[in-house]
């Protein structure tokens, strides 16, 4: 018989939801991941009060790193307001009393993100945690994890390059839109999570620590600050990012803030026309403020 009184308030949970042993283990895995850039460190992914595949890996990293003075930002595909981001943010607010949350990239010290890296260049004071569905880039060419480990150990990535070769043969260009295999520190190739190609150059020589957490696949890996990250490519067919040019060759701009240097989302408006808007909502808000202040100054 359960004699404990039912607890419903937030204090029923340990700070950061995870127990201290879980945090300790994850922090150790993080240290190892930082020490061996790009290496997938296995860890005991805990059960979280949400389904695996909804960002449990990223959340466990965030909860192990968080302290009461942290300022957290949660992004889902660039937006702070989509369901996944809102729920994760509320969960963090509930289980980490004293932690403040923000939607502003520049104010955040810890950013958990699903499939985007913010447009703002991150600083050395910031950590970004990316949610990862498939940590191993070799999974598309080799089904056996045992063999994949040997391939990683020997830096044998020729079969990934053959995939790129076949892409060029078939489509005259590399058609990977996301999860672009990226070589870290001249050895391990990582799956940088489903970020668009646009974000891949941001990993290279980043000021901020970039952490990757795969909850379902139970892997943690990292790109430490100032580490070389090189997308796989051929010497004569270099890597390139999305270009967002229209048929006449003009760079499309955000329909809301007018920015012409950000990653754009395409959607259809009520009239059935294609509209483009910044994927990073905080960036878009900031650009909008700038435009307003310029107008006020000139008025």
């Amino acid at each position: 018989m359960n004699t404990l009184p039912p607890k419903t308030d937030a204090s029923a949970y340990n700070f950061g939801f995870l127990d201290e042993y879980a945090k300790k283990e994850i922090r150790r895995a993080i240290l190892k991941a930082v020490a061996i850039p790009g290496y997938q460190v296995p860890y005991a992914s805990r059960e979280m009060p949400m389904g695996r595949g909804f960002g449990t890996g990223g959340l466990q990293l965030t909860l192990s790193l968080i302290g009461p003075d942290e300022v957290v930002k949660v992004i889902d595909q660039g937006s702070d307001d989509s369901v996944n981001a809102v729920n994760l943010r509320q969960f963090i607010e509930m289980t980490c009393p004293g932690v403040s949350t923000t939607t502003r990239t520049v104010e955040a010290t810890l950013i958990q993100s699903r499939h985007r890296i913010p447009e703002h260049t991150l600083s050395a004071a910031q950590i970004i945690v990316l949610q990862v569905p498939y940590p191993d880039p070799l999974v598309v060419v080799e089904p056996s994890e045992d063999k994949r480990k040997t391939m990683h150990g020997e830096a044998d990535y020729s079969r990934l390059l053959v995939k790129l070769y076949e892409d060029i043969v078939k489509f005259d260009e590399i058609t990977l839109s996301h999860r672009y295999p990226t070589r870290i520190n001249d050895h391990y190739v990582i799956d940088p999570s489903p970020i668009p190609r646009w974000d891949v150059p941001k990993i290279n020589n980043s000021e901020a620590l970039i952490l990757f957490g795969a909850g379902r696949e139970k892997k943690i890996y990292a790109v430490p600050p100032h580490t070389k990250a090189e997308p796989l490519a051929f010497t004569d067919v270099p890597f390139r990012v999305e270009h967002f040019h229209d048929a006449t060759g003009n760079r499309r701009t955000c329909s809301r803030c007018g920015c012409d240097g950000s990653f754009l989302d395409e959607f259809t408006n009520d009239a059935g026309a294609k509209v483009y808007q910044c994927s990073d909502s905080d960036w878009c808000d900031e650009m909008l403020l700038q435009v307003k202040s310029w107008r006020e100054v000139s008025a």
Binding site: T150, G153, E154, D156, S158, R159, L161, V162, Y165, E166, I168, V169, K170, F234, T235, D236, V237
Partner: protein, 276 residues
């Protein structure tokens, strides 16, 4: 002539092995299965030398251990004991003491292998060109245009229609698959090539053209080859020297002409006499 490969006392035993394995197997015992411990002595005490540009034949019946010899040398399997030294220009490699990364490097850069079954040598889910590209990428060629040119040159050289560079090998005929395999093996211009029953299962006219191709390549590139086959016609046509194996042991070795015209061992006599 420069020596390319020196194999000494190569042995491969499947199973745990026992002290009586060696004496209770072999041609005299008429088995390769040890009656005491149940281990299979696939290869025992095989030694030979291979020189630059030479073709050495390894013949014998099914289960005589001839394929195991090349599989050990190509690192598909680990040898139980013995030594093999590969002489590459100024360098020497003691094959069985290398670590797996060094073995992989040698495999990708300096050796070539053509299997009887194209499924082993080719990836059927990527194009013929992609298969050759894989080997070139393994040997650190990172230029798409150069890879493409090289793949086309090799396929043209092995008489595969250039219009089929971007087709999957599973849509090819058996003879064409074998040509793609040869092209793939030759991609890095290896000084040493292993051919394991390359013409077995192909029809006679295709066999003849593949054998012609192998001879031309040997003349052109001075590639040393170890040819494993049970087909005496292949041995006669391709090889200068040969070894005959039975139950994992070498029972006869020497010049191919001598072995075929004047076989010494009873088994070889039977083998030569049984040619249709």
């Amino acid at each position: 002539m420069n020596k390319i490969l020196e194999v000494r006392n190569l042995s491969r035993i499947y199973g745990k092995g026992c002290a009586l394995c060696i004496e209770s197997t072999g041609p005299e015992a008429d088995t390769n299965l040890c009656p005491h411990c149940g281990s299979v002595v696939a290869v025992h005490d095989v030694s030979f030398d291979l020189f630059e540009g030479e073709i050495l034949g390894v013949m014998g019946e099914s289960g005589s251990g001839k394929s195991t010899v090349v599989k050990n040398l190509y690192f598909d399997q680990a040898a139980t004991s013995g030594q093999a030294i590969f002489y590459d220009a100024a360098r020497q490699y003691d094959l069985f003491s290398l670590n797996s990364a060094q073995q992989r490097w040698l495999r990708n850069h300096r050796f070539g292998m053509v299997y009887q079954n194209p499924h082993l040598g080719l990836n059927f889910n990527i194009t013929a060109g992609g298969n050759i590209a894989e080997r070139l990428l393994m040997s650190d060629l990172m230029d798409y245009g150069a890879i493409r040119d090289r793949a086309k040159t090799l396929l043209a050289r092995t008489e595969v229609l250039l219009s089929r560079v971007d087709d999957l090998p599973k849509h090819f005929s058996g003879g064409m698959q074998q040509r793609v395999q040869i092209a793939k093996a030759l991609a890095t211009q290896p000084p040493l090539l292993f051919l394991d029953e390359v013409t077995t299962g192909l029809d006679l006219s295709v066999q003849a053209r593949i054998l012609d191709l192998i001879l031309e390549i040997q003349q052109e590139l001075k590639t040393a080859m170890v040819v494993v086959t049970h087909d005496l016609g292949v041995i006669r046509l391709l090889t200068g020297r040969a070894i005959v194996m039975k139950y994992g042991r070498v029972i006869e070795s020497g010049l191919t002409d001598q072995i075929l015209e004047d076989p010494q061992h009873a088994y070889t006599q039977r083998l030569v006499a049984s040619v249709l």
